[in-house]
Symmetry: D3
Subunit: 233 residues, 6 copies
């Protein structure tokens, strides 16, 4: 049942946890929380090089209608990320330079939207990062209500208001707020474990040896041949 | 955080409510609950002509791994529908005639899966309805755990275990269990309102008049021209 | 410049020409008019087995807004086909059983729409043929004006009001009204030429000989080899 | 290096082996040969219900040019299947009723093409089965050479002339000719093993027990919960 | 009916109007002309950062055949943009560095093509901007005629020869030549209105207040809640 | 039949030939070998500006399983390029910064993979070029064997171990090892022929004249009109 509401107050994770998750990046965070929480790979940054993390202020919008973005901006706090799911497939340009200025003025860190955006040259120049499904100039209307700060699905991922969003060149990941610290801890452990491995790999050691894969490969039945000509012998 | 679990007991809606939702079909149910809850349009029936409704037994699966389907079947009751979300895009054939026989033997009504299925000629012959993203023969493995009966996202829709699934030729819709009766009531009211309208439309009356659209069209600025030649005058 | 208008009167081709074009089918008509006029291959019939032809009553609609369909139905004459282009990509369900009943009551022959439709089981049962980009239950609003009976683009094809639409299992083709008779004549000639060829091919004669292709193949440099082993010699 | 050639003679597997592979269907054959050889899931039958197997006569064609189909038909023997790969993405209609009559007259069993076809109503009526990437009326030219009976890639699968093609409602699979008997044997064994399993599953036994999955699930760490409320405890 | 022609003379809009439209960019121009005229969002710049405007010299080409590009270049004047529509879906590389040099020598400003292009590193280095559907090296032939400077459909948009094309990072928009001045005027007004709004938004004022949305939101039924916990109360 | 093997020794082309092919780029190489060997246009570089060539070390992998990448790295020599085909559609992130460090330490020049990769910011910073179908963080498992250095299909192209891979901003092309020198020679000839043409085109001469197209255009029936108004005369 969808009744249009705008929820003023949402829980947020500790800023330090959010920042630490952001520094890890999407790939590490996703692994740390059990390989869940990723948005679909069609979600791409409008311009390259950004990595952000923040608390999700969520929007459920109707296709072609960006009315709720205005409602959401008022409810944001500095450091938040707006995350918009749409009730049907849509590539319209929900967001452009005016809304980006409004967001930036309120301290919003970025936008993640399962639809299109426009004024992309301006967004890059302003330094307002956006991850979207499409870039399209098609304008939207302000006629039909959606909701702000209710649980939504965005690009295949469940997002609750206040969940932590991490976004970078590898895509977008959602961390459930209740598990933010655990994920942070596991991510840190993962990063630390990788430091030594990275150095060994850089020195030319093989993953086959570092991870002790040879016995398992043999057990699974991998056969080494000297030449392709031996294949059907 | 994903910890692999299988939940034995889930709440279910009243069978009579489920049946009534099923008789309404996807389009009506979706409207009755405020135009939310639809899966993406790429979810299509493997064969035509079926309309089913049932309680969702949910699966979160890893791509290319159908192990959890076996776990889920044991936890189904007659009348349930298995709904499988995958943690990444995948078209592999997770389900075929053997699993369909197992489902049918346990009274499972159908399958909704955001991936591929196979043995489609058998599925049609057996009368086991499936809605899927793809038809593909690619086999799957049984190596990595997922979960059964946790909240999932399937084809863009949030599904909680025990939610009501309605599926027909128009796609798949999810009704939250807590609102099943309200949605049923609103759907019934909608169906009743449509009976009279349908008859009037069949008799050649226009929607313009039945819905009293002419004043609003005029107010919005629609101009009637006698001929296209008058357009740029 | 788009100013929302509804044009009451459109030119139509002779019914006999329309009927003859319909009997030829999409592939022949497309060839007869110089291999233009086809809609994109994503336009598929909602149910199989129909072949229709009629005069286009065109709609330019905004995404997610089916208001103009109601306006269009009043302007249709028996035998017309409604053709709807949308100003942006959209899969919403613009059309269902109520509108189909209204169309059928007015003698409309079918619908071609670059968006989604719903109530597909009803459409098949009623025998109201539809070609669409998607099947989806997502409901639409009636808030923003478009136009009726202006030139539009639908699924990659230019359509002027009164153009002839031919639609069957192979897709949808648009014939410019001014050239309908010429296309009909060329199509007939093509059909007649094919009768003899079909018979010869059914008797086992080869296209290579019927079309005298062997000299041109040789001139172009095709080399016949007895065996693949001769390839790199 | 592509030099346009047409190879007259190709090796073929024993007809009995081909027939047995055909009777197993795509899913079983694919499994029996180690889960390789499938074409992409976008390859769909033009009409439903057919299952065929035959020796591949291969075509490498340029986009929008069906010249080589005529060359290929002459080189077919009764029971062959024409398999056409294109050197670039293309949805044009390479094949229609005339070519289908020619194929049928020569005993060709069907067509598999990584492009479009047309005259689909005729193909169904004639009973000439086709698997294709698209249905589109767009005509093709006969201007640029390709080759016949050289190794090709079709819809993601490597096909050598004389390989066995199995195609049904689940897609298309390629069996290397040299391994046809081994695959047939493994497929038979698989089918036999499935008979008993199917019966046990039909009787309500669970895959969990038939395949003895419970210890492995436990070892892998699957936790059974009585209720979803126990999840975060 | 398509008869292959090349039209030597086309009307063009005033250069000053073209330049002013170019300076506004795609999003503003599209809004100014009533939210029509956009090409599909799959049309993307081959390299970033360009914004151009010019008069359309149109090409209707057959898939995989770039012959008409040569014909078109001769008919271009300095400042023109070549716009190519294809009669079927095609990703072949119609255009590379040689043709780009030829275009640049004749003063052509850029290319918009509903197909593929190649030599993209050269295009960027030369500073010859291209918007295309794909980047692909697949070569094309010169065998089948199309036309130059006839009305075409390109990526879903109707383009008449001499229409103004505006292209930037947000996509491609077509302005009908007859309405160029009106669209320019409306675009300017829109830009001016946005200056003040932008400043207010940058100062932290909300769109909700600037556009006086609060009463309409309330009327439409938006309910503000203090907390998500109040949702089902 | 797929039996999992890893082949230690593969033939490689002369380094000088590989380097010369690399310097020509994908478009030229593809033309020089008869317009074959291209991967699909969805294969895109993870970051721009790279052009590489090397000998293919091939991987056949199962979807979501990157175990064979570890096996392949050991079998690489400096200058090799790893090319990975997957047995089904998959966008999972098979490869990230750790594996890239391992590759770089062993002298591997780059990766071409018909699936997803991650850690793209790191890849760019390291200067390790990758061409892939997707960018996605989804992690993979190491459970199911594939093979290394057997013939594979990657993104629609046949690749044998030791074939030469050329990759740049225009995509990816495969050159059969046996024909490397012939292709190199033809590519050189092509490049040389283009130098003069490029200069003439830069000086404003037309392709119509350089390639002597006017008589063929006339013969094919192209009609020049002074104005579009003459079209239907």
């Amino acid at each position: 049942m969808h009744k249009p509401v705008a929820v003023r107050n949402i829980p947020r994770a500790d800023q330090s946890v959010i920042d630490e998750l952001g520094s890890m990046g999407v790939a590490t965070v996703h692994e740390a929380q059990g390989r869940v929480g990723l948005m679909k790979p069609y979600m791409r940054p409008v311009y390259e090089g950004e990595r952000i993390a923040g608390s999700a202020v969520t929007i459920l919008a109707q296709p072609g209608d960006n009315w709720m973005v205005h409602v959401a901006i008022e409810l944001c706090q500095p450091g938040d990320i707006i995350v918009a799911g749409i009730t049907a497939d849509c590539t319209d340009g929900f967001f452009g330079d005016l809304l980006a200025h409004s967001c930036q003025a309120r301290g919003v860190k970025g936008l993640v939207i399962d639809a299109g955006v426009r004024d992309t040259l301006d967004l890059k120049e302003m330094g307002f990062p956006v991850w979207s499904k499409a870039i399209h100039s098609k304008g939207t209307v302000k006629e039909t209500l959606g909701s702000v700060n209710i649980p939504i699905v965005c690009a295949g991922a469940q997002v609750n208001p206040g969940d932590i969003i991490v976004a970078d060149g590898d895509g977008v990941c959602v961390v459930e707020r209740q598990h933010a610290e655990t994920v942070r801890d596991k991510g840190k452990a993962r990063e630390e474990a990788e430091v030594a491995k990275r150095e060994r790999l850089q020195n030319g050691e093989l993953g086959l040896d570092i991870y002790n894969m040879r016995p398992r490969l043999e057990e699974a039945g991998l056969v080494y041949l000297d030449s392709l000509d031996d294949l059907d012998k």
